[in-house]
């Protein structure tokens, strides 16, 4: 058992911590109000290499292990989640498909520019009638000669307003259900590609989510990602791969909220003493701290297992479920400890409270994570009793 991160990862995480604290966090309120991350911050983020975390070194990225990615994401979670989401969606669901299933030619074309942050990535699965039931997508891809013609609509696509490269799932064979879905690499510049208006959201300000439309969009056949008919499985794998990173982002936000809550409990006086001296406040903090510690070791253990090449479908689902639920509980207690000021927008706590909510919904709802966990338990039982 070795619970120590390797030396270079320690230095990386400290650098990212400094960067977040001094270059992003001071602008969090501005980002929230303007619903935009200043370009200067994004430029610095790109220069640090934070857009190439999961992309292999030979394509200009960092090729970090899952452990390393989680260490970085934990630090990125300690500020406005909209900023974190731009990077998270790009490094996670936005580029993992090409890293994992792309052929050499596709990797050469896309990854270097994605690693530098010149081209942002997005992942387009969800449709109006296909959310949790992703196999019900209707976007249709019809083969014509050496190209596919795609028609359809995707909704809630994070990074869509500025992404250049989209991993798009579309139906190539309607007879085959989930096995008739294929994944494509779609460039924003393809004729027939259109981004709709940006959604107004409860939180995650600074990150943008929009609809996209394909109208007789022509995609060359060399842009099929992986094999025809494997798009649904690819999508599930991409989502599973992103779960540890998402939990690490939750972890960073939780730690931020705990630190602020401990400080506030000591500084705020009522009834002639700090509210920290009330046992119930102490217990709130103890509950927060204990859950955060559990989440931390769960995150790094799942990341470590994934790095060992172990199957982590069940554990990653547990982690995503637990991380997002803990984040919501911690955010709720943080608001409670802060009292009125916890509800006031001039102070960051209510922002985290709103930002936390999405983590139980996107990249697979909490309910869907439980379905996955149960189905894995069932599979294991069946295997034992065969």
């Amino acid at each position: 058992m070795d619970f120590q991160l390797p030396e270079d990862l320690i230095l990386m995480r400290e650098t990212v911590r400094d960067f977040v604290r001094h270059e992003v966090e001071p602008y969090a309120m501005q980002i929230e109000e303007e619903d935009k991350v200043p370009d200067s911050i994004l430029e610095k983020t790109k220069r640090m290499g934070l857009f190439g975390l999961s992309i292999p070194e030979e394509y200009g990225g960092m090729g970090l292990s899952m452990l390393g990615e989680c260490a970085v994401f934990e630090e990125l979670g300690a500020t406005i989640n909209g900023f974190t989401t731009i990077i998270g969606a790009h490094n996670g669901i936005g580029s993992v498909g090409i890293v994992e299933f792309g052929n050499e030619q596709q990797k050469q074309r896309y990854l270097p520019r994605m690693a530098s942050g010149e081209w942002l990535g997005a992942f387009a699965l969800t449709e109006p009638q296909a959310g949790s039931n992703a196999a019900a997508i209707r976007t249709r891809a019809v083969k014509k000669g050496d190209r596919y013609v795609i028609n359809g609509q995707k909704i809630y696509i994070t990074n869509a307003p500025y992404a250049q490269v989209f991993t798009v799932m579309a139906v190539t064979d309607p007879e085959k259900g989930a096995k008739g879905i294929t994944s494509f690499i779609v460039e924003r510049s393809f004729p027939g590609f259109q981004v709709g208006s940006v959604e107004k959201k409860m939180g995650l300000h600074g990150s943008h989510t929009a609809q996209i439309y394909f109208e007789d969009m022509e995609v060359p056949e060399e842009n099929v990602l992986g094999h025809e008919g494997e798009g649904y499985i690819n999508a599930l794998k991409i989502l599973a791969n992103g779960r540890a990173g998402l939990a690490a982002r939750c972890l960073g936000s939780c730690q931020y909220l705990l630190d602020r809550s401990v400080a506030y409990a000591h500084e705020r006086h009522q009834f002639g003493k700090p509210i920290f001296e009330q046992q119930i406040i102490q217990h709130y903090l103890a509950d927060m701290a204990t859950q955060i510690e559990t989440l931390r070791w769960m995150t790094y253990r799942v990341a470590w297992m994934a790095d060992q090449g172990q199957n982590v479908v069940k554990e990653a689902a547990m982690l995503k479920l637990y991380g997002s639920e803990v984040y919501n509980r911690v955010a709720d207690l943080a608001v409670q400890i802060h009292g009125g000021i916890g509800y006031i927008a001039e102070y960051p706590i209510e922002r985290f409270y709103r930002d936390a909510r999405i983590t139980r919904i996107y990249e697979g709802t909490s309910e869907i994570q439980k379905n996955i966990i149960a189905s894995e338990l069932h599979k294991a039982y069946q295997k034992q009793n065969d």
């Binding site: 230095l11 650098t15 400094d18 270059e23 220069r47 640090m48 290499g49 960092m62």
Partner: protein, 256 residues
């Protein structure tokens, strides 16, 4: 061109200083590159990126300083030297002697340092080093231009600007605002682990303990008195003035 940058690892400026038995406590403290030295490192790397230079960073200090040097390597320096033999530690005089011995082992055209370290704040080491090496120095730069052999330094002069010319080799020190130091990139951090970092000892430098023995002695270390509430004088003006004069003479004893 070969550039030597002097680096000291200091307390993070956000840290609280705690004293125990007259010693500053270091446990649990976060250490950073002295902020003035960050400007020096950044300036050296910019010169390297603009032309052709090799950047060596050097530190005299305990082995924990290796982290500061690794960060400098991650920012883009090529090579690091750490004088972490405790026999090399003394005061500003000793540090300058040690650095001079290190500098003499190679041919440096330009030496860049921070104007001062935020811990001891003496501002002596770099200037002493220039004296030891018998080269000119320009201190507290807000802008540096290097054209071939010629160096032009801009410095703040009480609101005006003083422009100083010198020829290489020269030593300069950085003032706050010389540049905006970069964060090391993640790939830089990874590469830093593979760049050379040499430890040197008293023997390596051919020095003796007597030669570098400290010239000064710390008599006492104490924290500043906590600030007490100020006093607001009232009454008519002449009365306030005489009260103030009395206070300065006999209470605060500012005027003897």
């Amino acid at each position: 061109m070969k550039i030597l940058v002097l680096v000291k690892q200091t307390f993070d400026t956000e840290e609280k200083i705690r004293l125990q038995d007259g010693q500053v406590q270091e446990d649990g403290v976060r250490f950073v590159i002295n902020p003035y030295d960050e400007y020096a490192i950044e300036e050296a790397i910019r010169i390297k990126e603009a032309g052709d230079a090799e950047v060596v960073v050097v530190s005299v200090g305990p082995s924990r300083s290796e982290e500061a040097l690794r960060t400098a390597l991650a920012m883009g320096a090529d090579e690091a030297i750490l004088a972490d033999d405790s026999e090399l530690f003394g005061d500003e005089y000793s540090a300058a002697k040690v650095l001079a011995a290190i500098a003499r082992k190679d041919q440096y055209d330009l030496i860049i340092a921070g104007n001062q370290a935020v811990d001891d704040g003496s501002g002596q080491v770099a200037v002493r080093l220039a004296e030891e090496l018998g080269i000119p120095h320009i201190s507290t730069l807000t802008k540096l231009e290097v054209n071939g052999n010629e160096v032009i330094g801009h410095r703040d002069a009480e609101g005006d600007e003083e422009i100083v010319k010198a020829t290489l080799p020269v030593l300069v020190t950085a003032q706050q605002g010389l540049n905006d130091p970069r964060y090391p990139s993640l790939i830089g951090i990874r590469k830093a682990g593979k760049k050379p970092l040499t430890h040197v000892t008293l023997a390596d430098l051919g020095l003796t303990a007597e030669e570098i023995a400290r010239k000064s002695e710390v008599v006492e270390t104490f924290l500043p008195q906590p600030k007490t509430a100020g006093k607001i004088l009232s009454g008519d003006l002449s009365q306030q003035v005489s009260e103030l004069v009395t206070a300065l003479h006999s209470v605060e004893k500012v005027i003897g």
